[in-house]
Symmetry: C2
Subunit: 339 residues, 2 copies
Amino acid sequence: MTDDRRLAVLRAIVEDFVATREPVGSKALVDRHQLGVSPATVRNDMAVLEEEGYIAAPHTSAGRIPTDKGYRLFVDRLASVKPLSAAERRAIASFLDDAVDLDDVMQRTVRLLAQLTHQVALIQYPSLTRSAVRHVELVPLSSTRLLMVLIADTGRVEQRMLDTATAFDEQFVSEVRAHLNSAVDGQRFADVPARVAELPSSFPESSRSNVAVIVATLLESVIERPDERIVLSGTANLTKFGADFTRSVLPVLEALEEHVVLLNLLGQATSSDTLTVTIGHENSLESLSATSVVSIGYGGGGDALAQLGVVGPTHMDYPGTMASVRAVSRYVGRILAEG
Amino acid sequence: MTDDRRLAVLRAIVEDFVATREPVGSKALVDRHQLGVSPATVRNDMAVLEEEGYIAAPHTSAGRIPTDKGYRLFVDRLASVKPLSAAERRAIASFLDDAVDLDDVMQRTVRLLAQLTHQVALIQYPSLTRSAVRHVELVPLSSTRLLMVLIADTGRVEQRMLDTATAFDEQFVSEVRAHLNSAVDGQRFADVPARVAELPSSFPESSRSNVAVIVATLLESVIERPDERIVLSGTANLTKFGADFTRSVLPVLEALEEHVVLLNLLGQATSSDTLTVTIGHENSLESLSATSVVSIGYGGGGDALAQLGVVGPTHMDYPGTMASVRAVSRYVGRILAEG
DNA sequence: ACTTGGCAGTCGGAGCGGCTGAGTGCCAAT
DNA sequence: ATTGGCACTCAGCCGCTCCGACTGCCAAGT
């Protein structure tokens, strides 16, 4: 069946183009890959592949380059997952094990990923709604002012300042603190609203409004906000885009500054261990039509805490990138579970 | 005195070059600026300026561009501080007033600054050693594990996990918490080590080692770490560098990823309200020899809490940039003082 | 003692044309 | 179905010329 060979040709084209970033011709193909046929035969196959939309020729007399559709077929059917080298595994371990707190884990992870893949890497902070409350702390700052600190089991810390309507005393604070913690400790954030709804009514009328303010503030920090935090690294790797600067790099840099956009880009938190690859125009953003996104969930076993991934030119090394992303995701998940 | 006119010529050259990014010739100068002399006269002045090293000609038959030395003279003696427009003032206020916590303030500030100046903006988190302790919290997680949360008066929160050698009870925790807080509350971080040194000895022998661990952890988070946090924004503005991409933008992007480098770049926290401008080669980094840094301290009145600033090509709009940086610094200082 | 117009000289960059070579498509032969 | 042969097509490079923006210098004017 010659269909197999056509796929082999496509794979070879993708691999060569990724490596050299130049249109690849029939001659070069047979030279560099052992596909025991002549250039003429390859040319026929290429004609078919072009007809079907997997490859295209930039101009009449040049080699072919893969289209988005071609890359899609490549990652779906042709990419064999490239195992990481021992050195890479070691790098991941030693780089992440020294992290001292959550910020540090995020920072290190994203850098590591950028270095491994030579792309722009991004990671989303563990989603609040998917984690559980470890502790709520209330710190009195003045007679009508409190600092609320909310600690999630992932290590994420949220803080809020709040002013009460009337003055309170130390007694009141520890009472509320105790009630709050017994209500929400260990609960998933998503369940918190239900658990605290009745809280104010268990206090005497006089202090009820103050309790209400505190509860309201707590709910405010618990609700998933659209501006979930994201960290990114490796923008310098965008130079790999090639020469045409303003047209290709500028829009990408701009998109990367919009964290809200990035969240959409990473996509809904799917279960961990399932790589998502979005290629070129499949992407909803016009400005990113020359880039691909490789993302995956991390942490939390079944359904992921949040997403991480890389953004790079469509002509990236998919097998390698996918392997790195997956490996890092697993390692981060493990680290967070330990912490 | 003709010396005045020569300076006027230099100023005109700088302004024109910044605006057009092209070498400026004698003819263009007299056309665009009203300095009632003929091109020939200007040529003579330019010859002198070149001799003295303030300007240079890229090639024999082209206009002149300012040298680093020329820019230096310009910012030192020629730049009149351009007042911000009402719209800009309004933008600063409305943008920063909505911030909900410290992270948010940092994020918003840096974005704002990037937008105002059209450069890359950076801000350093308020330095720990320069702020005071608002509260230390200990949260028991298991019988031998504690979470320590350290809250600074700037709103910055540090957290550390710690394991004790022997099991402890709730009683022990609240005792240590009380002692700790009475020892360090309101103290400047720099003074903390002295205040807690004697703490373990006031506990009974049996629990002393646990207290020691807690104190050690506290000190660890108090010591100024080299990786003080930095946030940056506006890398897309680097496209202003002009065409030559790999040689001019790549090294800058790389430098921007190294937060330690950036800290050096911003320089030692000088007193607020004193703008520091570092031009081209004055910069210690080879890779940043085509960029200038405009920085200033913010917060804390007399001596600043930390630094903020922008990085851009040497041919930047110094008066405008300096005005924006100063205005933002003042506003952030005010916000932090309120919070 | 400056300033100015005039003039010769320099040189980067744009525009043009021809050449080259990689690569294609098609066809006839195996 | 595969292959070698062959005519054809362009993109990109090289070298050429030409143009014009500047400069530096000098001699004359205020």
